[in-house]
Symmetry: C5
Subunit: 357 residues, 5 copies
């Protein structure tokens, strides 16, 4: 059982590290603003919460439970129960995982709980101790601060994933390998994981910013709308990474086939060059009594000459008929123009001018 707590008295005095009785009296007074944050929730916390606060049984169970809950908002009249997800920075998993922040939000209290260390509670704690600004502006604003920091802390992970996807894009063209495929799969699953929590989160924030709950005051709704916009941004970036992962997968599969083609060509060239020549050597290795060429003085050297000519000729032919291809100019042009929109500018100017007249 580990928790910290702050209480802003109605007269504006801020006290911290309240004991159980203080919390109970602050909570019951119905005045001021109480914030209690629980970390690593267990049975002891459950008992504490049940005895001190007047919360609905089912919400307390969700609050305590180590199982994952989807983001949601439950309305209990006097207070609402919120579940949000941020990145779990303590996970050892190969794939990005999310961590849960549960919040009871009432007129004069915010009770938050989480099973892993979250940067958002630390950041808000620091901010309160420095300026006490978040706790001065009411419980709905304090909850907003927690959720806002939680969501903003997803961005570094998204940025890292964007870097990884850029690395994959480079890797996949230059030197695709089995490990690249693993990286693609991990990236893809991470984007799906993030997508899966962002969709219900968007819905919850849309409801909070729309004024469905009287606890969120009119002036604070716009701040929740702001978190909503951040989630839209995160979803867009995440979706772009997913597109890159999908493209990389297609490219990877085609690169395996391409590589196989290269191997096949080497094999075919080797066979096409040496099998006929071996036949030639075999012919003159036959033991027929009457083989006039064998008597010829320059016969042997003629055969060697024919073989050398054949080798050179076949290699040249394979080269010429594009079996060993070199990127031709035409395609290069396509890429350059797609790649560099700056060049489109000239093109664009000629189009836009008739409009200006």
């Amino acid at each position: 059982m580990s928790y910290f707590s702050y209480y802003m008295k109605p007269d504006g005095e801020l006290i911290s590290n309240l004991n159980r009785e203080d919390i109970l009296s602050a909570y019951s007074s119905g005045k001021g603003l109480l914030w209690v944050d629980f970390l690593d929730l267990g049975d002891e916390d459950k008992k504490f919460i049940e005895e001190v606060f007047n919360f609905h049984n089912l919400a307390v169970e969700d609050f305590i439970s180590p199982l994952i809950h989807s983001p949601k908002v439950d309305d209990f009249g006097d207070y609402i129960f919120l579940v949000f997800h941020g990145i779990n920075y303590t996970s050892d998993s190969d794939v990005v995982e999310t961590a849960e922040l549960c919040i009871f939000l009432g007129p004069n209290f915010v009770v938050s709980g989480h099973n892993v260390v979250l940067f958002c509670t630390e950041a808000v704690k620091t901010s309160i101790e420095k300026t006490s600004r978040p706790i001065k502006k009411g419980s709905d604003f304090l909850a907003h601060e927690l959720v806002d920091t939680l969501i903003d802390n997803v961005l570094p992970t998204i940025d890292r994933m964007t870097e990884v996807s850029a690395d994959i894009e480079e890797e996949i063209i230059q030197n695709p390998q089995k490990t690249t495929l693993e990286a693609i799969m991990k990236l893809k699953r991470s984007t799906l994981q993030i997508h899966r929590v962002m969709v219900p989160q968007r819905e919850v924030l849309s409801r909070l910013s729309r004024g469905d709950f009287p606890i969120i005051k009119r002036g604070t709704q716009i701040f929740y709308r702001d978190i909503y916009d951040h989630i839209i941004r995160i979803s867009d970036l995440n979706q772009t990474n997913r597109d890159i992962a999908d493209n990389a997968l297609s490219t990877y599969l085609s690169s395996i086939s391409n590589r196989q083609n290269e191997v096949m060509k080497v094999l075919t060239i080797v066979a096409a060059v040496f099998l006929p020549l071996s036949l030639l050597a075999g012919i003159y290795g036959m033991n027929f009594d009457n083989m006039p060429e064998l008597k010829w003085h320059w016969g042997y050297f003629a055969v060697l000459g024919i073989m050398a000519t054949a080798i050179i000729g076949l290699v040249w032919k394979f080269w010429a008929s594009n079996w060993i291809t070199i990127g031709n100019r035409r395609v290069q042009r396509i890429i350059d123009l797609t790649a560099n929109p700056k060049r489109l500018k000239g093109y664009f100017d000629s189009i836009i001018k008739p409009k200006k007249e």
Copy 2:
């Protein structure tokens, strides 16, 4: 025909194993709370139900029918008819299957029926005999207990499927085989099966918790909302397993191609090394009269030397030109960073600091 029954009299007395007349009088009294549970429904049960209860013909047919019905709720005014699905733990199928629980829910009765043994009815029965709590709180709460236990019993299957998908993920990278593909396909179909019953189930619970039916009292609605949340959780876990199965399929297909590349390379190396040398041996096996090298004292050994040099040289060249690749450092870095979000922490700290100031 096999059923068990409980009746909580209005005065709080609990009687069990009622015979037909008792059930009829308890049902008609309109008081107390009657629970009858039918297992393995047949024509005899149909007759029994038609004679004792006053249910609509179509609902009774759905109740009796061994066919699968989608989860639904039908409103008959005085009572509602519910169909829910849980895991069928008695099935021999290769793929996870669901079993149906049908419930008639009225003000003073719960009539449930199922064709396979379900743990939820056993659990609620045990709970009633121990504490009689579920039956004390009204018919809507008793029905909730049944549905809640039914849905929660899906979780062990989901957990097992998660274990299987983890095994598949390991298997697919180390040693993918035809049996792995079968496991992927079974996992995928199981997730689809679960998905297919969870979607309408969510809809039904949303309606039950929203107050659409007066039989579900206000205080009990939140409990149905709780089952709704469990279903969301199950759907999310199930979706993750499906993503893993999809990824594993892509990886499997690419691993077949990769393996083929390896085989091709071995073949090509063998051909590229031995076909030219065979030609060389063939040349000196020709029977021309005038082949000066054949007279040379060290000719034979020179040819052997050339052959040995060629073999060593070609193998070295194939090695050097990456035909037998070893994972390069760069890609490894990508994976490590994706895999271990802990390392992102440092990165994250530098990002988050400007915010705190």
Copy 3:
């Protein structure tokens, strides 16, 4: 022009095979219940219908037209025009096809039409002649009987498709062939065909059972709701078959690649064994004057011995390095557990027990 007709007089007398004048007077009387069923509609029928009934021109054109119409309901105030689809059991097509049943439903008449023989009209006809029950309960109930039988007659096709998909699943693992692919494609297109008519059909039945049309009386709505449930069941079964077809397609594609791998391995093993040995034989076939081994008494037998050793050694090596794989134990375990949920029971018990306490 082929039709049959029934008329239940207001006094309960049932007459059949009415001629044109009888139909006209029964229809105009506005009393009793008239049912006329047209088969294989043509221009003559059109004229007949236009002269006798007072239907809207556009609806009559849809009724007559041999073109396929999507399921729909059109409200013309006094009567409604319904289009439903069942299985076309007379089609010669490789893919399941649907047949149309058009119904004009008014307060005292049901006029149905179809271009192919449908079992539903036969069944309702038989039922009327035996008990006259369907025609006693009003026009909305009679129309329900037709639609209900039509939809239920889809089930045998679905069952057959389920059997086919089970056959495909077995075939695809044991011995996939080009004809298996054809069967998969036909199954897939059949499921799509059924899906395409069931979606609008569901919508139409939802409207009929909701009370949007006063012609459907309150008491009959629940019967239309019952057809709605049947459609949901059919759609679910159909979707499962489609999943199986999709899985089978993936398995088929991977099995082709797997088979190619097997072929490649045989080729590579053959080449890797015999090309080096041929070189050895070639070397001792060279005609150098000074080749000391050739003089050795046991030289020939030594070479034979080396060759035999090499063959045995290489085959053993390919075997050992898993080129000819045997399913390893680990994967087998995965499959068994996925396949047989019964085994999950023990696992499940240990999970569920803490809940019961």
Copy 4:
């Protein structure tokens, strides 16, 4: 500038080929019904329209512009502006393209415009000159005639695409080629093109038939509903063609792999037969002094016999072990049953009988 015009005077007289002043006076009178149809719209037309009619600037620009506009309806109070798409039968493109028909529809006028020749305007023109029926029934009916004919003219293209898809289906099984792939891709893109215009068109017609616009009178709405049904039918047929194209693509890809397998098998059989025999010949071509077999009188013939036996034996073995497969009976059964629903009839009868009793 090219246009034709008709004016039905309030007294029922029909005049055609009005000049500018006639059009202006007919339009301003607010009586009778004026139809002007513009083909191949240019700046001159714009000037003409701006001077004569009182239309909103933006709608006129859409009307004139050669760019493609999505189907839509814009409400300008006194009149509505409609954009519909039909098939562009004058296009040279490899893929089916659509052509635009813009209509201004007011109480006493219809002004239509299009950049390519459309059969619908020709057809309505002919119909007016013959019977003047379309122009007698009001502006909303005249517009309906234009749109109805436009949409119905999509059907020949759909029918042609259905024929093409049937050809592709046959081709893909018998002899798939690179050109078949091109045909699949063109078919697929054509279906997508049609799908893309049909979706908004359906939406527009749904609004027109719902009574959203007072210009469409109650009695005419049902005619717009009829066009709506035609679009649904076109969409369904189009979707079926798209399914066929998708299936054909999968089949094509697998057929390439299958063909490669066949090639590989030939290669492997050739290598497996001739490499070992070449070794045998090589062994007896070695020049060891002590090779007893060489002295045997029948040695040569024994070797020839061994070789012949080996060739026959290996070919027989490859045949027996199914490398050259012949469709086995079991799969054939699957196909036959899928293919021919008629055979399901017997099966169906046994299922349906219990129902009839």
Copy 5:
């Protein structure tokens, strides 16, 4: 800090390049129309905006922030805050990127901001200096001009992408290469990028044109509806390009396999021709004492003849059995008819004629 500004005084006089005090007084007067456009926003701008204008803090932060925001509209009562996206023509990225235009729109002011040079602000500036038309018609019309020009400037990029996709389509059939795949991937990601901003943009414009915001006057709404239509057109063109990219990817993958087939066939033909002949040469190279053919006078030449016959025969056989295929007539017909809808005209005429009668 870089900005330009215009102020249309209530008396119609236009002044430009206002300093801070002028802007402040113009803004506070509540009369006339003020337009300020900020480029390359930084902290200095933020301070300026905060001091001069009375905007909500969160909107100002979005306005200043260099991060990407999704298109949106926020209602602040007196003014609305708009975010739109156009093409970023200054980006060096390989993939089309979008640039943001933020607009504060109030009754007498438009404050716009963007981090990259946008052609739309330049174009509107030029237009104001020439005719002052955009600024005369009110703030909602001025904002419309900006957004309209921004969206219209997407078209040149779409046109360029359409050209690129046409190039890819040609390339993919004639000579697909690794660089073609890169071009496909870039095209695909560009279409996704454009799709991602167009979807919310459409939603915003739908709300602006619907009259949700009183700042947009009734007469101007139709102009926003016009932009909405442009976005629909852009989305349609973009979607077509995406379809082409998807098709090209499938074609590319199949072309790799096809090419591999060609390589395999060459290899197989070489092996099938030369391995048997080498065996033949090997046989007559054996050193058996008793090989009667060796003594025959024409033996050697007979063997040469057999070899030549075998080579010619095998090549002819491979040719005949279609291993080297030539496009057959039948498929060509399919393509031609798909490709050229003109030919459908005759077919169409015969269909349409019965309609005309």
